[in-house]
Amino acid sequence: MNARVDHVPSRDGENAAPTAEESYDLEAVYRDSHVGEVLESLDRELVGLAPVKSRIRDIAALLLIDKLRRGVGLSSGPPALHMSFTGNPGTGKTTVAMRMAEILHRLGYVRKGHLVAVTRDDLVGQYIGHTAPKTREVLKRAMGGVLFIDEAYYLYRPENERDYGQEAIEILLQVMENQRDDLVVILAGYRDRMETFFRSNPGMSSRIAHHIDFPDYTAEELVAIARLMLQQMQYRLSEPAHEALREYIEKRRAQPHFANARSVRNALDRARLRQASRLFERKGGSICRQELETIEEPDIRASRVFSANA
């Protein structure tokens, strides 16, 4: 990140005649903002997602430079920060949104840095006159933070022209435009349906500066994610179980309704269940710590995914 942004301030310096000689310590600003820590933890705790991470780095760099520009009195309109996250289920959209809120907070672009996650039900009312107060309520709650609208395309229902979703969209647009420094809106959903949504709501599309696409995970990345999850839950995989998990993920990926990291999490939860009943059925005798924390091969092999293909 440093390499990328290091030469930018000097260019700024040439433009601003009175302050050309002054130099600004980018390193210090970067350190003071503590953005580096967030970006590092993003790298450490989120597997894969290379294009997403590089986009977030770009945004962070832009905001940091923007802050410096403001410091020397160069023009810096509040940057448009509304974003759209598109990708298949379980690719980490919500998780990244939470990190985004933190990054924006550290850089001082949102005042509180909390994330309010909502769906259509939280914004759209059930009868006439119910939608506007409901949407305003949510917006009020999100002020000073990030409003994350999951499956945003449900807001717009073209098949029903009297759908109240349109009203919610209009209020959202108004606030996104007029109170840009009060909150940041992130829309999320499946790629193709979001594209349809933006096509039918050009106003929304033009107010969103950053369209970030979340790629599917590869099999290796999913295994890495599984290890990370197990580590957080303080479990271990035995060597054969590790091999079984790898096979499981390969097989599961080919099946319908595969939800990336979410499917992996569910699979691990079921494996824990089987491990527990395996230990429980043994009864008698004592259990050592290692047994409690280890997931064995049969715990994973017992999955339906293996039997269906056998």
């Binding site: 005042r111 509180k112 909390h114 917006l139 009020k140 709650r141 999100a142 002020m143």
Partner: protein, 126 residues
């Protein structure tokens, strides 16, 4: 007659920025902020109308300023105040209350002594 009640009422009217800063202080203390309005500023009128419910789950002053502005728009000729309620056990009362909106012309109120006549003795202003 300029009505003086609540905190800051002997100061010039607060700007929106100052109001937001006061609200920010309330939120930082964990108080629930609410907006109320009335057309009867008599000091014995302790029951102002609520403009929406108290906002217990708002994190930032901008959210409450939205509500204050909505109230000003709806009632341009009323008195509007912001209250901050402290729900700490044992306290459970208002901690701060100040006027954020006044009508263009303030008729004030007067006390009419009415000994020997009917009525409570206190009547609203003209």
């Amino acid at each position: 007659m300029r009505v003086t009640q609540g905190t800051f009422s002997f100061l010039p009217d607060l700007t929106d920025e100052q109001i937001a800063a006061q609200i920010e202080y309330c939120l930082a203390n964990g108080w629930a902020v609410s907006v109320e309005y009335t057309d009867d500023p008599h000091p014995r009128n302790t029951y102002w109308e609520m403009f929406g419910t108290p906002m217990f789950d708002i994190r930032d002053a901008a959210g409450i300023m939205t509500e204050v502005n909505a109230c000003r728009e709806t009632f341009p000729n009323h008195y509007i105040k912001v209250n901050a309620f402290d729900s700490t056990r044992g306290r459970e009362s208002l901690r701060l209350s100040f006027i954020v909106g006044r009508p263009g012309a303030e008729p004030g109120f007067s006390l009419v002594r009415a000994e020997g006549r009917r009525g409570s003795g206190i009547e609203p202003g003209p």
